[in-house]
Amino acid sequence: MIKKVTMFASLALVLGLHSALGGDITGKVTLKGAPPAEVNLPFDALCKRTVKPGVTPTTRFYAADASGGLADVFVYLKKAPATPTPSEAAVLDQVSCEYSPYVVGAQVGQTILVKNSDPVLHNVHPTPKVSGNKEHNKAQLPKGPALSFSWDNPELFLRFKCDVHPWMFAYVGLVEHSYFAVTKEDGTFTIKNIPAGDYEIEAVHRKTHPNGKGIVSKVTVGADGGQADFVVDISK
């Protein structure tokens, strides 16, 4: 009898904990409508040498696949419980005279590490717009040591640029917690380990939401997580 009660209690505890922990939010961002054509990047002779033969680098405003899955969309919970600052850094690399990835997420206070894998000199120039986030401009030698940055205020799409190669850009979505994700090439995303509850979730695309106001949706996270899909409509 005692054994049965213990088993039942354990099961209830596990279920309760799982419910309290919640789960993951998954979803997809789809682009509706035909985006304008991307343009070629005007690489100089030095940068051309870093690109694989046959590859023509272009702008990356609308990275959508055949099914309309839109990449590089920053998805995050609008109001979420505080989380400790991650000890691992968010990484931006400079490869073939382009930033990789194009969009990355980070928590305020988290270290953002900028590497230079290129055999070319770059200057790393983050240009925050939110008051209190400081602008920097640092030189980075070819394959030189990584530079680290950190900001204390949330800012969607904090821009990194290289003025030596004025087509190089990357954007960092800075929020106050760790419940965010950036959509992959097929437009899908997963925000992990969200406590159970009701949330507002926002998907922001840098180009289609220039004022930083994205698409907001409500989502309930239960034991099985939650689902949130978005459609970015540029057909109008």
């Binding site: 054509a37 100089d44 405003f61 200057n123 030189a139 003025d163 180009k207 220039p210 109008k236």
Partner: protein, 417 residues
């Protein structure tokens, strides 16, 4: 009595040097324009150094991408600063010796000592430059020619130019170190005013300054009015250039496409946040400009409106000057050239829109804008000079007549004198 009229004319080499500064300044505005057009103003993160080097030691192999333009801009700016300093010392005549020996030499020596004590990185590079300036100043102070000083007006203008070029250099540096676009706008506008000052300086030290054609007594009042009208046009031009500088230094790209109609369909576009959002969605440019705002659209449209006002002013000024002075008068001829520049500038403005703000066309647009302002300012000065010389001549005639009549009254004929 006018001291300017009696003062000896500066030497030919001085006049040519002043003119050369005008040309180099104009070229510098062009290089600055290229820097902004390409969006590479921050390609060199430090100032006054270049990637840790003294700027004159920065290896040419490192002049890559945007660094080439920004570093070139700094070097040409240094050249303009040096030339202005030389002109200022030159304008002092033999007094230049004292300036070199008792001001520039100790100053350069002091800076060298400070670098030795305070600067750790590449100190010898800096000292070789400042120490070189100290040595050259000292040596030159012994061999500086014993020539007369330029007129007080020219000397004052030289000092003002030196002050302005230093302020301009500091503003350029602060733009880089403080990350302020607003400073860039002011820096760009001040550059135009510096060019105007150099044109004034070159003209006031030229042979034409003394020999300028004075207007007849009948044309005195129209010439005076002409100078005021042109002065007003120059103020409008400065405002127009400041608007242009604002648009360029906002780094938001071309806010309004299509010319002569905005977006190829509107005389005046529907300026609303929704409309601007739609524009931002469709804009694709490798320079990844900041999103345009309602303010950008308004400023752009106001720039076009100002261009129209200036163009109509140009037409009116040409017609008016031809009627008042005739086609052969220098003021009429100058007015035609100014109007030609205005027309060219309007065309370049249109080409800038049609080419989606291509860097080379936008830069030529900046250069011709600077030339239009410089020429307009020259016209103001020329008109004022014509009036001034006419008034001086009239006063001299009156004095001569009065003295002649006075002599007659006391019974002495002018012939006997």
């Amino acid at each position: 009595m006018n001291t300017e009229l009696n003062h000896p004319l500066p030497s030919t080499s001085f006049r040519l040097f002043a003119f050369a500064i005008c040309l180099v300044t104009w070229f510098l505005i062009g290089v600055g324009g290229v820097v902004t057009s390409h969006g590479v103003g921050m390609a060199v993160p430090d100032w006054p150094n270049t990637y840790g080097y003294n700027m004159f030691y920065f290896p040419f192999s490192q002049w890559i991408g945007g660094i080439f333009w920004e570093h070139s801009h700094r070097l040409v700016a240094s050249l303009v600063g040096l030339m202005t300093l030389i002109l200022t010392i030159w304008s002092q005549g033999v007094g230049g010796r004292k300036l070199l020996r008792y001001v520039l030499f100790p100053l350069a020596l002091l800076v060298s000592c400070l670098i030795l004590v305070r600067v750790e990185q590449n100190a010898m590079q800096h000292i070789s430059i400042t120490g070189g300036v100290a040595m050259v100043s000292l040596v030159c102070s012994f061999f500086w020619p014993r020539m007369p000083a330029a007129s007080p007006l020219v000397r004052r203008l030289c000092w003002l130019a030196l002050l302005l070029v230093i302020v301009q250099g500091l503003l350029g540096g602060l733009r880089v170190t403080l990350y302020k676009d607003e400073i860039g706008i002011f820096h760009a506008t001040l550059a135009q005013l510096f060019l105007v000052l150099m044109v004034v300086l070159a003209f006031s030290s030229s042979r034409a300054w003394s020999n300028w054609k004075q207007v007849s007594n009948e044309a005195l009042a129209p010439a005076r009015l002409f100078s005021w009208l042109m002065c007003f046009c120059c103020v409008l031009t400065v405002a127009q250039l400041a608007l242009g500088a604002f648009m360029r230094h906002e780094h938001a790209g071309l806010a309004v496409t299509g010319f002569p109609l905005a977006y190829d369909s509107h005389l005046w576009p529907p300026i609303s946040a929704e409309f601007v959002d739609q524009l931002n969605v469709q804009r694709i440019d490798h320079r990844e400009f900041d999103p345009i705002t309602v303010l950008h659209v308004k400023v752009h449209m106001f720039h076009r409106l100002m261009a129209l006002i200036l163009f109509l002013s140009g037409v009116s000024m040409v017609i008016w000057s031809y009627k008042r002075f005739g086609s052969r008068h220098p003021l009429s001829k100058l007015c035609i050239v100014w109007f030609g520049l205005l027309c060219l500038q309007v065309l370049l403005g249109a080409a800038t829109v049609w080419s989606n703000k291509a860097a080379d066309i936008a830069t030529v647009h900046v250069l011709i804008g600077a030339l239009t302002l410089a020429h307009g300012s020259f016209m103001v000065l020329a008109a004022r000079r014509s009036v001034y010389l006419a008034v001086q001549a009239a006063e001299r005639d009156t004095l001569d007549r009065v003295s002649h009549e006075g002599l007659n009254q006391v019974g002495i004929s002018s012939a006997s004198l």
